[in-house]
Symmetry: C2
């Protein structure tokens, strides 16, 4: 029997045992947002560490100002890449509880899906890699690469512990490529590997006018209305054809490669179906780019909320003393959130109408990340996923931002592969979160091949 | 002794008695917004009616779906105008109580001012006309004109009873001119007569985008952001130089007379001091008009509040499914709020970006009003105020809207004189509301002359 035949046989034989293990972890309500669940967080961390220890991995719990990090590693393999698997054992809160068909922490199988909080995000996906390494170990085979694991317990709360410890952990975590399964396939039956994420620069604008609310009858027509001044500034930031007007905004933007555009064009994305699913009569955005290109690889500007003035029932006739907005720019490589902050302030300084003053408050920021879709790691991952799923994965980017990923890539100077085993409709942060049972098994199988295909075979 | 000498002597002699009467009325907490104060509303109405009856006026309480209206009239005077005095016996709520230096319903004299809720708005001002008619009566003199009184108890709550009853009361209230003292002098020591009010058309806009909030990472750049679409529409409604872009908006606008502009230019209004008082570094508005002209006699457009999306602490990365705004247009004669509503809808229909839908909700509207500043009534009023205050009043307009005034002027086809005895810093709707004691006396004296000077003397 070849290595793969051995592994496949082992995985089939252990399907029930693997599911039982996942159920054990899902039964621990490790809600990082809930301070009353501190001991459950500890139980979940200990459970994960136990899996590593049972397979003989060098394992440690790294304490911090929050949930512990779990670090584990297999033996180094001379001349071969080091792979770092990142995942998390914490989950989102489960409320509203009354919307769950079965209790969130009592995993249930229905229609081929595992229903439980954390099933897809991220306990089920993370475990695929743990179990595939255990499979190699239990089959008595030497892993072709060194696999390191960093499993944190604060991903749903902003990864502050990891962020704080990243500099001191950099040496321990040193690797050639990070593997993360904490996202979705492109579509049902169509796995994907994500090789890029957008960054973000998030701000609050506050436009200050008169020092107190004014009666709009007695004063209307004499002073600049802060709400209208805000509206004008927001309008001037982005043209109707989707171009952002901050000075120098596009200077460092890495343009799309022709090969990427061709690859995505061939994916059969339907604007019509997409618009229909969102309930809008038209898709809009930057001229000259397809919808996928605009979502995944072009910067944009959005308003998230509007603030200030009278917001109650009926009408109140005030000129508000201030109005504001929550806004963000989605960034692409190689834009820098701090630079965008400076560009925004510069733009506003030259676009503030007389009679008001604009305050720019930095809320948060993170760089985007993109790795070479033609790298050897990518080729290896594509092969592994194809063998696990029986379908060649598409190579995509993702419009959202995972600031900790960009920080790890920066700190460790490595590649990254985001291989999501989930589906868009898994309800990751919603009631009735699910994970397809077969995708759990296919994920373990893909992962078991991944270690082999990421190894150098020159 | 001449008639005026007799009246002046009577008024000086009765100063203390008049103040006592005002204190009696101020002690009744007739807060129309407070349903627990229903019996106090009844007491206040009865008290006012008693004053009229004590002077022998034909008096009636007109019940309605809310606080009663009080109607009273002196004898008709053949060949002379009929004057209708409008006022109100209800007051604003007094909270926050802890900010009052003395209790709101225990009137107190300090620094030459009467401190109490309702002192300036409107019990003190309204009573000047009641007491001046009583003075004529008590001096045994026949009033030179017929004076009718309509005193309502719901002005602070929108005058719904009066509005509903106006058609059936039109015959009873028939008059040549309405006199209202429920506003302010132009400045301390400078009385004013207001001969125009702006109207208003108030709306809520709701811009609807995707059918649910979307993750701005995954979807940003693909759909029209409702907050940005709203911002663009608001921005396009008014140019930076203050011109409103609704089609036909200025068609019916009555332009300022050269004489009005000259009159107001001569009033020594200081843009610098005004801007300083409001805490703004510049005054802005429609090009080609002075600040007073823009506030009193030009239409304008304001945002009162912004709605929708994430408004909490920090950042949330959503594309809101909707955003909205409370907006209004201040109108001048002869603009019609319903017409402006149609113009707004027409404008929005042609300015809605693709990918969103805009809902326009009518909130409230009222026409502006302006009467001839050179009318014989105005001349008589100027003379009366000058004799009462020792200073010639300036003729002004007011930027605010009193929809019931425009409705009465329309329904009764008459002139209107708004003669405010108050001051801008009286705190009409605030804690420590006050009314200058001497202005109370000067108001009664002016009113006592008014009946004579409004009479025809051909």
């Amino acid at each position: 029997m070849s290595k793969f035949e051995q592994l496949d046989a082992y995985l089939v034989e252990h399907q029930h045992a693997h599911l039982e293990l996942l159920f054990e972890l899902l039964r621990i309500p490790s809600v990082s947002a809930d301070s009353s669940k501190k001991s459950e967080m500890g139980r979940a961390a200990a459970w994960v560490a136990d899996q590593f220890r049972s397979a003989g991995l060098k394992t440690e719990l790294i304490p911090g100002d929050g949930p512990a990090l779990i670090y584990a590693e297999t033996e180094p393999v001379e001349g071969q890449p080091v792979v770092l698997v990142y995942g998390h054992y914490d989950v989102q809160p489960a409320d509203p509880l009354e919307l769950w068909d079965t209790p969130p922490f009592e995993p249930a199988l229905r229609d081929g899906n595992i229903y439980a909080r954390g099933s897809t995000d991220d306990k089920g996906q993370m475990l695929t890699h743990v179990l595939s390494v255990l499979a190699w170990k239990n089959c008595g085979m030497k892993l072709p690469v060194q696999v390191k694991f960093l499993i944190e317990g604060q991903e749903e709360q902003g990864s502050e512990v990891l962020e704080a410890k990243l500099p001191e952990l950099a040496k321990k975590l040193a690797c050639d490529v990070i593997v993360i399964s904490d996202s979705s396939q492109y579509a049902k039956g169509q796995p994907a590997i994500t090789y890029g994420l957008r960054g973000i620069a998030y701000f609050e604008l506050r436009v200050h006018g008169p020092k107190m609310d004014l009666h709009s009858g007695s004063f209307g027509g004499a002073v600049t209305n802060p709400g209208l001044a805000l509206a004008r500034i927001l309008t001037e930031i982005k043209t109707p054809d989707g171009r952002i007007q901050l000075p120098g905004f596009y200077d460092n933007v890495v343009e799309l490669e022709a090969s990427e555009r061709a690859m995505w064009d061939s994916m059969g994305f339907s604007d019509t179906k997409f618009a229909e699913a969102l309930g809008v009569d038209a898709l809009t955005g930057e001229t000259g780019y397809s919808t996928l290109e605009r979502r995944w690889a072009r910067p944009t500007f959005d308003v998230h909320g509007l603030l200030g003035g009278y917001q109650g029932e009926g009408g109140k006739t005030v000129i508000p003393s201030w109005n504001g907005a929550k806004i963000s720019f989605r960034l692409v490589p190689n834009q820098d959130p701090a630079t965008v902050g400076r560009q925004l302030r510069e733009f506003i300084a030259s676009h503030t109408p007389p009679g008001v003053r604009v305050e720019v408050i930095d809320l948060h920021g993170g760089r985007g990340v993109v790795v070479d879709p033609n790298s050897k790691f990518m080729k290896g991952a594509v092969r592994a996923v194809e063998e696990g799923f029986g379908v060649q994965p598409v190579l995509i980017r993702e419009g959202g931002s995972i600031p900790i990923v960009a920080q790890m890539v920066d700190a460790l100077d490595c590649d990254v592969l985001l291989i999501g085993w989930g589906l868009d409709d898994d309800g990751a942060h919603s009631p009735n979160e699910k994970f397809c049972l077969n995708d759990f098994y296919r994920g373990i199988r893909s992962s078991s091949r991944l270690w082999e295909h990421l190894a150098d075979r020159r």
